[in-house]
């Protein structure tokens, strides 16, 4: 039981951008504005020009319901929008379209790892609204003379997620934010890596006193620091015999302090009234339909990982703390056995995640919203595709097509077991299945969506695109392509490592890199230290793409890591010989079987990863 000695009560209001939508909430302007000049993605609606009429984005409503359901909320069947009236330069209409008395969802909760174990934080409401524009202050906010305004952000779909004051420490607040972000990313409605994606206002009181509202927090770490500062400040006020006053304070991220806004203390007078330009939403029936298609959330993935791959709950928790890491792990182990899955879990939950945290790096997966820059020339790449094989070729048992399909699965997903596996088809010719023993891959045709779903048994699901050309069903892989120089990059199997500092280039780690490094280790070709060295090298420097296919090989060669292979087995063999004089004597006396116990000793010393044949050869060499 956590005693909460200072009587801390924290409630958070989190503004979440539904930035996986293609367009803003009330107009067709794109949400892909992050790298573009100010005021270049605006229209009469999001600029608030007279006479412009908003029309709501259907997918924004669906996304809001998804989030409501995932946060265990009650979803309203009838809901509507209001005008919240106030003047501020980021709000060109003089009002914000938001919700008031029937927010789309309310009364839910999030479970976090609290100070004393599992802790439930209530969700008061999660309502829809439009994002204001972005203000750029010249100089600091309290000194600048002018405000510059960019309305590219204006009209982005926002959810304001308001919690109950259930958090009892800054650490719990941070865990709540981590969990919320993680849930939103699993729902595929939100990309937390984009600038301005998540903004936090925090309410905090101690000892049953008045609360201070802290504005302008833009990161999880920032929230924790602002709250820590605020607890100390409020304690000092009380110690000096003062009283904490109800006020709004501004968090200065650089100085890590909160400052009183000292605004003219007027009661909020927003004069809410129903938005006459938007008709009400009657959405009974939507929530049950959406609930049926809700993806698995982090806690469900965690249980699945423990069950399928036999890893520890602690490892599964770390791996599922970010959906990108979870998917990467799934991809790495889906074609391998349990032993490899456990080895990979150890490296990825522990070392890789630790290295990323240490460098303030995060995984990033590129989407249509933010295509990557070209690795060769720096131009922005565009989504495109690459031809793989003709579906009909599989149906008529064309051997060349079989080969193309298998090569794709081996080279891109490391599914080497498919090499000698039979290919089966269902009678309708809509499902192709390749399987041996514990592994299988199904390819399922979905021509309503022009897609082929690739499903790994006990693994991930990926999609390929389908193009009908005359009587051919061309199956293509989604890639990013550079129109400027012709370079390309895989979409499914490369993970980009994003660094928080914009000055540091992004690194990338591919499925094949990860598999190769772990394979080298598992087969005892490199040591534990060397795996770490490989990971650090990949994370630290951007290695030119021309070497990319053999990135790990190149590092191994350049750093001279491979020599270690011989050394490890060699050293283990020497030790085994010195420590087992009886076995050596027996062998020399002609007992062939005595060699087996020496091989066993070498295997043990190399943590079971050594190749038994190599160990035997090295031992034979030494025993002469």
């Amino acid at each position: 039981m956590y005693e909460n000695p200072d009587g801390v009560m924290i409630g958070l209001e989190v503004h979440v951008q539904l930035n996986k939508l293609k367009t803003k909430v009330f107009c067709g302007c794109t949400t892909d504005y992050h790298n573009d000049p100010p005021n270049s993605h605006v229209c009469p609606v999001c600029l608030g020009l007279p006479g412009a009429l908003p029309v709501i984005n259907k997918r924004a409503v669906e996304a809001a319901i998804k989030v409501g359901l995932a946060l265990n909320c009650k979803v309203e069947e009838h809901t509507q929008f209001y005008r919240k009236n106030y003047y501020y330069p980021d709000l060109p209409k003089g009002f914000q379209i938001t919700q008031y008395d029937f927010p789309i969802s309310s009364g839910g909760y999030i479970t976090i790892e609290g100070e004393d174990g599992e802790h439930r934080v209530g969700i008061t409401r999660a309502h829809m609204e439009e994002d204001p524009g972005r203000l750029v202050h010249e100089g600091t906010i309290d000194k600048s003379k002018y405000t510059l305004i960019d309305y590219n952000r204006s009209g982005m779909a926002l959810l304001e997620v308001v919690s109950d004051p259930d958090m009892r420490s800054p650490k719990e607040a941070r865990r709540y934010l981590d969990k919320l972000r993680n849930i939103l990313e699993y729902l595929d409605v939100f990309d937390g890596n984009l600038e301005g994606a998540l903004r936090v206002d925090a309410n905090i009181s101690i000892m049953g006193g008045q609360r201070a509202e802290i504005k302008n927090i833009s990161s999880h770490k920032g929230a924790e620091r602002a709250l820590l500062y605020e607890i100390v400040r409020q304690k000092n006020v009380l110690r000096r015999g003062g009283v904490v006053v109800l006020e709004t304070r501004h968090f200065d991220e650089a100085r890590e302090i909160t400052m009183s806004m000292r605004s003219k203390e007027e009661a909020h007078d927003y004069r809410y009234f129903p938005e006459p330009d938007l008709v009400p939403l009657k959405i009974s029936g939507w929530a049950p339909a959406i609930k049926a298609t809700l993806p698995d959330l982090p806690d469900a993935w965690r249980l699945l990982f423990v069950e399928q791959y036999g890893i520890t709950d602690e490892q599964a928790k770390a791996l599922t703390s970010d959906i990108r890491l979870a998917k990467f792990y799934q991809m790495v182990v889906q074609n391998r056995d349990i032993k490899f899955a456990q080895l990979a879990a150890d490296w990825m939950s522990n070392v890789l995640k630790g290295e990323l945290n240490y460098r303030s790096q995060t995984f990033k997966v590129f989407s249509e919203q933010e295509a990557p820059k070209c690795w060769a020339c720096g131009e922005k790449m565009v989504p495109s595709d690459r031809y793989l094989f003709d579906w009909n070729g599989i149906l008529i048992n064309d051997l060349d097509t079989f080969k193309k399909l298998k090569e794709y699965l081996m080279n891109n997903y490391g599914a080497f077991w498919v090499n000698n596996a039979p290919i089966e088809k269902d009678d309708a010719g809509r499902t192709i299945k390749i399987s041996v023993e514990n592994y299988s891959i199904s390819l399922i045709l979905d021509d309503t969506k022009n897609k082929v779903i690739v499903k790994f048994y006990k693994g991930g699901t990926y999609s390929l695109s389908l193009k009908k050309v005359n009587d051919r069903l061309n199956i293509c892989e989604d890639i990013f392509y550079c129109n400027n120089c012709g370079a390309s990059r895989d979409k499914n199997t490369t993970f980009i490592i994003k660094v928080e500092k914009p000055s540091v280039p992004e690194a990338e780690i591919s499925l094949i890199d990860m598999l190769k490094a772990l394979d080298f280790f598992e087969n005892n070709k490199i040591s534990e230290d060397d795996v770490l060295k490989i990971m650090r090298t990949i994370l630290q420097k951007q290695i030119p793409k021309e070497f990319d296919v053999e990135k790990v090989d190149k590092i191994v060669k350049e750093e001279g890591l491979k020599k270690v292979e011989g050394n490890i087995v060699e050293a283990a063999a020497l030790e085994a010989i010195n420590e087992n004089p009886q076995a050596v004597a027996d062998y020399k006396a002609g007992k062939e079987k005595a060699l087996n116990s020496l091989v066993g000793a070498v295997m043990k010393k190399t943590k079971g990863g050594a190749d038994a044949r190599t160990a035997r050869e090295v031992l034979l060499g030494k025993l002469g």
Binding site: C43, L47, I56, N57, Y87, Y146, I149, Y151, P274
Partner: protein, 96 residues
């Protein structure tokens, strides 16, 4: 009843500068408007559902398609009515 200080507050909320003369003139006028609307209070609405919207419509949606129904403005067009601008931004006095 609206008093002069209520009018001043409303003026401030709407960022309108009201002269003494304006205030004297508009306070009674607004009161007569309110009186007129007050007549609605006499209607018995005991069993009437609250009206949130006057149109007999709901669920008007837009698909999530970029630049539909209209293309965005260019930066130049967007800024063409701005009294002050700088480096592609609108420029406004500091608000605090």
């Amino acid at each position: 009843m609206i008093a002069k200080k209520d009018l001043e507050h409303m003026g401030w909320l709407a960022r309108l500068e009201l002269s003494e003369e304006d205030k004297e003139k508009y306070t009674p006028r607004l009161n007569s408007v309110l009186d007129y609307f007050g007549e609605l209070d006499e209607v018995d609405t005991e069993d009437v559902e609250p009206t949130y919207h006057i149109l007999p419509m709901n669920n008007v949606f837009r698909d999530d398609e970029v630049n539909v129904p209209a293309k965005p403005l260019t930066q130049e067009e967007a800024l063409s009515n701005a009294p002050k601008k700088q480096d592609g931004f609108f420029k406004a006095p500091r608000m605090m």
